[in-house]
Symmetry: C2
Subunit: 308 residues, 2 copies
């Protein structure tokens, strides 16, 4: 297969765009796509200070790489969760992130949950769910809390994450299979900081397939952790991804069209403004001062203070 | 497995309801469920005149049977489409419908498209799509037109169809995968006659799984056409049904929950009133007088008058 732009040897064929590209044109095309996404959804501007949440996987490290190439000033945030799962997951992922940052002379914040809060995610999850459930819900609460805390304390304008199209489509699929109004109304490539204590959040990879990012990371020689978190297996999001892959296989572009037609319908006013959870009353958590809708302490502080 | 109500031998286990029933209790349970659906969505009342669209399949004949048992006055409408497909589909389905009606002394209207409009559906489709597409779109336009015409001419209050949960969930799935606002806003178990020339439409089977109806038809000894329309094969709706079956297999009740949570979210005001296609301007077709949003003649008249 030949590159559409130079007729050289193509390294990737993106069937949904009917676009095959060679190495050089692909490595040019990806950052240009990301710039378009940033602009279209008004995610951030080049004068703003950006915090990238990096896990050590291909998505977040590629994102940090691309944002740098595009001239944005980005610092990184790595959260040490203390997950081993037989593959030294946290240890190995931290090594990848630190290597990436030091090679490029980038600023990296590291928060170690055990050091800062006395327990690993695993220990918190074990305690609060009595071992009945996977740690994913607890992990999500902790990550959201810490990302927001570091963004505020560091005076960052925006927090960006490496969620890709496969992630966003799977999340939308789950929200749609159960018609969860709050989640449907809230899902968007950028979430404004609609409350003084909350950071703006953006997902510049939301229109990029996972396989495109994997190809990018490979071609750029980015060293990342290949293993996914050991607790991902058997999760609903993996299941939804598999189903969407069946759809994509049958009709290339199905995933992208599912996600983009959702964004379009939303922009055209499909959802009622009164269904918008922004109207939800938030108050500062008496312990950490982050906004929460929970009565009393926020979910994270309740966990850390052993109230659950 | 034992019947939940009498501990006799169960003939069906409905995993999504965790309910196994014997023959007699199942044959009691189904009509009671339908009555609840009719009442919940205020589909029609017993004093109203009801027209049931019957295709000769298990769904529509079972519906006619159940509505009769529940004491509703229903006449039938059979539309002869002139589809053969190597299995004499139309001929055989008409035989099933006529046998059903005559055995029970019920009134049946038969509209033969070739007799009334000079061409079979196949011929119309062949002409208007130049053989490039399946006849399903043309067939849909024709059936909607004729059902509405007979309902109006016969002074019926409501037109009911045998769409079951599998049909409704597949249709919702398609509308969701492409986020088609009009279709999402319109889909509901009953559609009010919001325009003088349109009949109210209701789908009393919308909460019943296809396999439950198949079991009902079998146990009631209803003779129906086993073959589906030969053009259904390879259609998108079949494809969506297969995907939903994967979900259902993994989580019994997934299909029902997908559809019911959609209805619930809608009732709670998820969609914006301004996205409601009822605001669409309709005018009477200058040829047939049925309301249409098309400029000039309605889609059916354009087809019959060879304007497409």
């Amino acid at each position: 297969m030949k590159c559409r732009k130079c007729a050289g040897k193509a390294v990737i064929n993106m069937r949904q765009h009917q676009l095959a590209l060679c190495r050089d044109h692909f490595l040019e095309w990806i950052p240009a796509q990301i710039q378009r996404t940033i602009d279209k959804y008004q995610m951030f501007q080049s004068i703003e200070r950006i915090l990238v949440a990096v896990s050590g996987g291909k998505d977040s490290l590629s994102l940090w790489d691309i944002l740098g190439q595009l001239g944005y000033h980005c610092d990184g945030l790595y959260i040490g969760l203390g997950i081993d799962g037989g593959i030294q997951y946290s240890e190995e992922s931290q090594r990848c992130v630190q290597e990436f940052a030091s090679q490029r002379n980038l600023t990296l914040h590291v928060v170690d949950i055990q050091e800062d809060y006395g327990e690993t995610i695993m220990a918190m999850a074990e305690r609060s769910t009595r071992g009945r459930e996977k740690p994913c819900a607890v992990c999500g609460v902790a990550k959201r809390h810490i990302m927001n805390r570091v963004a505020r304390e560091g005076g960052y304008n925006v927090l960006v994450t490496g969620h890709n199209l496969d992630d966003e489509a799977a999340s939308l699929f789950g929200n749609t299979m159960n018609w969860i109004p709050d989640s449907l109304v809230r899902q968007w490539p950028v979430l404004e900081a609609n409350h003084p204590g909350l950071a703006r959040k953006a997902k510049p990879f939301c229109r990029l397939y996972e396989r495109e990012i994997a190809a990018y990371a490979l071609l750029r020689g980015i060293r990342y952790i290949y293993n996914e978190c050991p607790y991902v297996e058997g999760s609903k999001s993996i299941y939804y991804k598999e189903l969407l892959n069946i759809l994509e296989e049958k009709r290339p572009g199905a995933k992208l069209s599912f996600y983009l037609s959702f964004l379009q319908a939303k922009e055209n006013g499909l959802f009622s403004p009164s269904a918008d959870p922004d109207f939800e009353e938030l108050h500062p958590c008496p312990t950490c001062d982050q906004p929460t809708s929970a009565p009393g302490q926020c979910a994270f502080c309740r966990m850390v203070l052993h109230l659950v």
